[in-house]
Amino acid sequence: RHEYSELHNRERRELFIRGTDLFGYVGIEAVLDQMRRKTMKSGFEFNIMVVGQSGLGKSTLVNTLFKSKVSRKSCTPNYEEKICKTVKLHSVSHMIEEKGVKMKLTVIDTPGFGDQINNENCWEPIVKYINEQYEKYLREELHVNRKRRIPDSRVHCCIYFLPATGHRLRPIDVEFMKRLGKIVSIVPVIAKADTLTIEERQEFKERIRQDLASNGICIYPQKEYDEDQEEHALNEKIRESIPFAVVGTDKEHQVNGNKVLGRKTKWGIIEVENVAHCEFSHLRDLLVRSHLQDLKEVTHNIHYETYRVRRLNESNVDFSVLGLTPWLLENGTADQSESQL
């Protein structure tokens, strides 16, 4: 006999007792498991971009987020940080796995951003890169013979590093986030936040939020895309606490007999994952544990669609015109074409 279905039925009967909406047992609920299994098998892709001046700890933060040497710095031996003459983008991909869930993680670094003397238009290479990924995807999607799974290189999340000045947003911050907020999900963070006291941090965040609002900058998660009450409540809480003040490290220290990730200074150990010390955990929870899928969906359903509409309009491509009429012409539905004339 089928051991699988025996076990299955036993489990199922319990679930059935809980849900009596149908007159009896059907088994529709099982589709959730089916879906889970399929996604685990095919794996996930996630592309994250880090933007900020050099020295703000971008690479370290990414490594801390994913508990491994993900960033380019760690991958290239004898890496020397040079100030690039222009903004160049580098992407590095890794395969990571946790409890059977496989993920292809791509980190896109933007060395040179904000490092020049004249930083006008330093966002252009970044805008170009993001749009190029949308273009790649669009072309694949429009092929007659399509791949079963279109490779997704679109930027799902852009972490923007704000230096912990304690004052307000600088012109470069405003310009960058204003432009990029329209095409990608931006998550601003306060980098190297261990130079701010808690009060300074709160005031800084408050001023940043004001500046964001007064400049009409859209950051993630956007109010307009909240789908229901529950999501809205959750996202409001997040919106009230961004930007997260973070500290990154890959070093472990002993604190009270436990091994913790932290930065050791003469005046104490800053525990990265301690919410009393910094907001790294909140950022990680947002990006990885709760909103990763949402980031991908917002990129796909909103940002990519916006790009697609613009591109198709630019090229005057309107398939619906072509789509209907040849069919009609072939089938000789005279009245239709007459009415069109």
């Binding site: 699988y4 279905s5 299955h8 809980r18 849900g19 909406d21 149908l22 007159f23 059907v26 088994g27 529709i28 589709v31 959730l32 089916q34 879906m35 889970r36 299994r37 399929k38 996604t39 685990m40 098998k41 996930f44 508990k67 491994s68 991909s93 395969m95 990571i96 796995e97 946790e98 869930v101 993920m103 292809k104 429009l142 007659v144 013979n145 399509r146 229901d228 890959d250 990885v288 709760s290 909103h291 990763l292 899928q293 949402d294 969906e297 359903n301 697609r308 509409v309 198709l312 090229s315 491509v317 309107d318 398939f319 619906s320 015109v321 072509l322 789509g323 009429t325 074409s337 004339l341």
Partner: protein, 426 residues
Amino acid sequence: HKSCMSEERRQGQDKGVRPLSLAGHVGFDSLPDQLVNKSICQGFCFNILCIGETGIGKSTLMDTLFNTNFENFESSHFEPQVKLRAQTYDLQESNVRLRLTVVNTVGFGDQMNKQESYQPVVDYIDRQFESYLQEELKIKRSLHNYHDSRVHACLYFISPSGHSLKSLDLVTMKKLDSKVNIIPVIAKADTISKSELHKFKIKIMSELVSNGVQIYQFPLDDETVAKVNTTMNGHLPFAVVGSTEEVSVGNKMVKARQYPWGVVQVENENHCDFVKLREMLICVNMEDLREQTHTRHYELYRRCKLEEMGFKDTDPECKPVSLQQTYEAKRQEFLVELQKREDEMRQMFVQRVKEKEAELKEAERELQSRFEHLKRIHADEKATLEEKKRLLDEDQSSFSKRRAAAQLLQAQSLTANGKKDKDRKK
């Protein structure tokens, strides 16, 4: 936690991507749950098409499968053509919301000439693909809100003759096997004995194979379900019995059909394969059915449709063609065609006007000649009448003359007689 390095390395090398081991718990193992939660919020869509002769038990089986009383109409056997009736229902089981569409054929197999019976079914399936394609090609589209009406599973009901498939069955299934996931079922299986059933199943499967009909195979790529799917593949086609009526067996009420010689229990696996069908169709493979429909059948339709419209990925020299080039070329073609059509129509119109004009002229001429003719007749008659009048006048005048003369004579004779009388008297 464990990190399976060797498998990762293999995979990484396959994709040219380095595997990496994690130094602690990151938390993206919640990704499948995040995805599933989003799907729960959106709800699921599932569309089943039932093809079978009138009265074979399609509606009853659907009722039994989903434990619901869908609105059912008893169809007549006198439908001139095969039609399809689609009904959509919103079902819920704990937190899963399912939008189920059941499409039934009406009048299938009832006509004298069944040559075109499959066509309405094929057209229906294609229309749903076309609908989706139109949405996908729109400039402003909303695919994630789109109510997917594409057929995910097609249950083909085979008559329990016990012998073999009918030619209608083979023809229909052959037309559909590249468009939809076909799951053949033997209907009203309680009319076949167990030994006959076994032979019947073998005969059906061999006929399907020898005619090259590709039915849906339960997938074997996922280890969790490969074993049960393999076993089930061997039980096809499922011999089903449907019933929503309950009969008491032992101390339970079960769905069954009561006969004088016994009770056929729907959910008893010794009696029929209903449980197997439910297990396979819903509990184990619903998601795979949806996936196959989207990634295989729909893609095939889309590819064919686009190729038909002249879109290609590479030009004759095998260089990749940009979308814009193809589109521009197509658009030019289309505009030329449109212009040609317009000219044709204009010409036709002018022609028609000329014809009408000629007709009217002809009618006018006719009227004119008739008028002339009538005028002539009238003139003739007038002449005749005038002649008659003249004669009459002549007659009249001669008559008056004669009368006058007669009167004179009479007057004279009277006076003459009067004198004579006077004379006598004297």
